[in-house]
């Protein structure tokens, strides 16, 4: 029973990383209809930016971490303005944008490899050390920070979405683009803000993952694959669903190996995705996958 609880906690923490990455991806997908697979590359580039500031330039950790947010925003806005908007105006189908997103992702990964080298990087030990034990369950301070960060991020975004004009506009575009345009929503401007906010949401996860496990040029794509599964499990367009989807996949991959070898972990993650696609394609709270504009 103690092991089960420990596995559950570990799974929630893993799931919180997936959720944080999934949130930005889902917000962009729901509002703009873009399968922004370059979101993983924005995540990776931000992690390397953190490495550059903190390890190579030896800036204070907090300063470096805070600067990662505008960096991620600049990446996301740059991709939207420089690539997506241009080809969208030329009438490109959403599937073309998806292929372009994968190309951007590969391009950014390769550039990072050329600039920083393709070997793994890490921020070193001792940023936040130690752990607490509650009963028989241990949790490191770093893991606790991850979990709390995810909860704060989601709460903050729900507030933003419900209480601000931009949040309302994003929700309106997500529900019905044509109707939103009729009532005067500036679609292109909201798209731009969506990419800025969605990319900013990748920054905390990038800093936390970089600090906890380090980084390689391909880490963003690895995380994004499971984050996309979390989006589908949680429900396309649903913010609470994204959190639940990420936590569910994280917990399932850990709890699933309670009595079987841990070698099954990856199979369990994508097995959960398959089950949802077949038996509950709307995920926990979302729209049906077949209605997505792909």
């Amino acid at each position: 029973m103690e092991v089960l609880l420990q596995l559950f906690i570990g799974g929630l923490i893993l799931g919180s990383i997936y959720s944080m990455v999934a949130l930005g991806f889902n917000v962009i997908l729901a509002t703009t209809g873009t399968w922004h697979f370059a979101h993983g590359a924005v995540f990776t580039a931000t992690a390397y930016f953190m490495y550059w500031l903190y390890v190579q330039l030896e800036w204070p950790f907090l300063v470096a971490a805070l600067l990662c947010v505008p960096f991620a925003v600049a990446m996301g806005v740059g991709i939207e303005l420089g690539v997506y908007r241009t080809i969208r105006h030329r009438g490109a189908a959403p599937v073309v944008l998806m292929v372009v997103a994968i190309a951007i992702s590969t391009f950014i990964e390769n550039v990072l490899g050329i600039v920083f080298g393709t070997d793994g990087k890490n921020l070193g030990s001792g940023i936040v050390a130690g752990s607490i034990t509650v009963g028989t369950v241990f949790i490191t301070y770093w893991q606790l920070i991850m979990l709390v960060s995810a909860l704060v991020m989601f709460s903050g975004f729900v507030w933003f979405q419900r209480r601000t004009q931009l949040g309302t506009a994003m929700r309106a575009l997500s529900s019905n683009r044509e109707m939103a345009e009729i009532v005067g929503v500036d679609v292109e401007r909201v798209y731009l803000y969506t990419f800025a906010i969605g990319s900013a949401l990748a920054a905390p996860a990038a800093v936390l993952v970089a600090s906890y496990v380090g980084m390689t040029t391909g880490i963003g794509f690895t995380v994004l694959l499971i984050a996309v599964a979390a989006v589908i499990v949680g429900g396309l367009g649903s913010v609470p669903g994204t959190l639940l989807g990420g936590l569910f996949i994280g917990a399932a991959t850990n709890l699933g190996v309670w009595k079987i070898p841990t070698v099954w972990q990856s199979s369990i993650a994508f097995g959960v995705l398959l089950l949802f696609i077949v038996f509950r394609p709307t995920g926990f709270f979302g729209r049906k996958i077949r209605t997505a504009k792909v």
């Binding site: 420990q6 752990s131 496990v213 380090g214 391909g218 690895t222």
Partner: protein
């Protein structure tokens, strides 16, 4: 296409040029890697290939190993070469990935026409072996540990003892020296992780118990499930059998979970500065790992280490691996000298005949190895311990064998 047709129509010399190009290509494909092949089948320069990770997660080790290979070549050439002829190598990037490794091997054998290629990393060595066998090119494995390599093919020779050589000694060490009764195992789920099976069998055979046996995927983000399951079994020690870039992270996560007082057992992959950097000094103080040679403390080792430190401005990533690659060049020198002495051409088949005949190789840094019936090296095993951030020899087993 139309432009090409037009070119053919308009250029009277086109066919002549095409014929000339074809002749040139034929000549190039028949030529050896460097220099010309003399009538005796011996080239002016002995060129071999090297396929190690130059990019990717394992590049810090692959690149340092390549540098040390270069040192040995330089040293041999400075001393007159091999029978008066120079040694040279062509480097390709394997990225420690089987697919990339195969591509690198194919390039080295089909374009550069080398009769011998140095490789490492178990999954790469195992993937290349059938191609080496088919093309009759020697695959010299220097750093891979999977026992699968033993039966991979007769053109695959390992100057580096496999995991079935050192793991029984590590099991004995755990029982006799560390008095461990119950050990948990975490291993990487690919060919690299297979020697952990040897440890488990040996440890159980010698009277120990395996508390847990858990795998992780290559490039895993988190090991919390493995850590939780292993911690629950309350082991006396933990065997970490993973890659150079993942082993320090795994050790760190165990220490974070409070398992920082029990010994970690491993093999040479864990002996790199990243262990200290990532896991910290306190966590790494209980790490014991095997190195497949006598203690690397000789004057020659220090000399090469110093040269590297002076040029690179840092310590080498994985001294054992780099020293093995340095010595691999002396292994190659010995088998080339055999072909010279026996008037054999510089081909894969001749080099294979050479190592099958010589069997015992004296090497400057890592000492003597003997090839067993599968052409896999047998050597003394040294268990190292990390103490205050330093990797130091702890105990050497002189009699080793599979």
């Amino acid at each position: 296409m139309r432009a090409l047709q037009s070119l053919i129509r308009r250029s009277p010399g086109f066919y002549a040029s095409l014929a000339a190009l074809a002749m040139l290509a034929a000549a190039a494909s028949a030529a050896p890697a460097e220099g010309g092949t003399a009538a005796t089948g011996q080239p002016d320069t002995y060129t071999f290939g090297l396929a190690l990770p130059q990019t990717g997660n394992d590049a810090p080790y692959g690149k340092d190993q390549t540098t040390w290979t270069g040192y040995a070549i330089e040293e041999i050439n400075k001393a007159g070469g091999v029978g008066g002829k120079k040694l040279a190598m062509i480097v390709e990037d394997s990225q420690s990935d089987p697919k990339r490794g195969i591509a690198a091997f194919r390039k080295l054998t089909s374009i550069d026409k080398v009769p011998l290629v140095i490789t490492a990393w178990s999954s790469v060595v195992v993937a290349i072996a059938p191609i080496a066998e088919r093309e009759k090119v020697v695959e010299l494995s220097v750093g891979a540990t999977s026992p699968k390599i033993r039966t991979a093919g007769k053109f695959t020779v390992s100057s580096y003892p496999l995991g079935d050589v050192d793991m029984p000694f590590l099991a004995r060490f755990a029982l006799e020296e560390l008095k461990l009764k119950k050990v948990a195992v975490i291993y990487i789920n690919n060919d690299t992780g297979t020697p952990s099976r040897v440890f488990i069998n040996a440890f159980k055979k010698d009277g120990g118990a395996i508390a847990a046996d858990e795998a992780h995927e290559p490039g895993a983000l988190d090991y919390s499930a493995q850590v939780a399951k292993i911690k629950a079994t309350n082991p006396d020690g933990i065997l970490i059998y993973s890659l150079t870039n993942e082993s320090p992270r795994i050790a760190k996560q165990f220490c974070d979970a409070g398992l920082n007082k029990i010994p970690f057992l491993s093999y040479q992959a864990i002996s790199n500065p990243e262990l200290i950097k990532q896991a910290g000094i306190e966590c790494s103080n209980n790490v014991y790992y095997t190195v497949k040679s006598p203690p690397l403390t000789g004057a020659k080792v220090r000399e090469v280490e110093q040269r590297f430190r002076k040029e690179a401005g840092r310590d080498v990533n994985g001294l054992d691996g780099a020293a093995q690659l340095y010595d691999a060049v002396y292994f190659i020198k010995a088998i080339i000298e055999y072909t010279q002495k026996n008037n054999l051409p510089y081909t894969g088949e001749s080099l294979k005949k050479a190592y099958e005949s010589i069997k015992t190789f004296d090497r400057p840094l890592t000492g003597t190895i003997v090839l067993d019936h599968d052409n896999m090296a047998v050597a003394p095993i040294t268990v190292y311990k990390t103490t205050n951030g330093k990797f130091e020899p702890f105990k050497t087993y002189k009699q080793a064998g599979p």
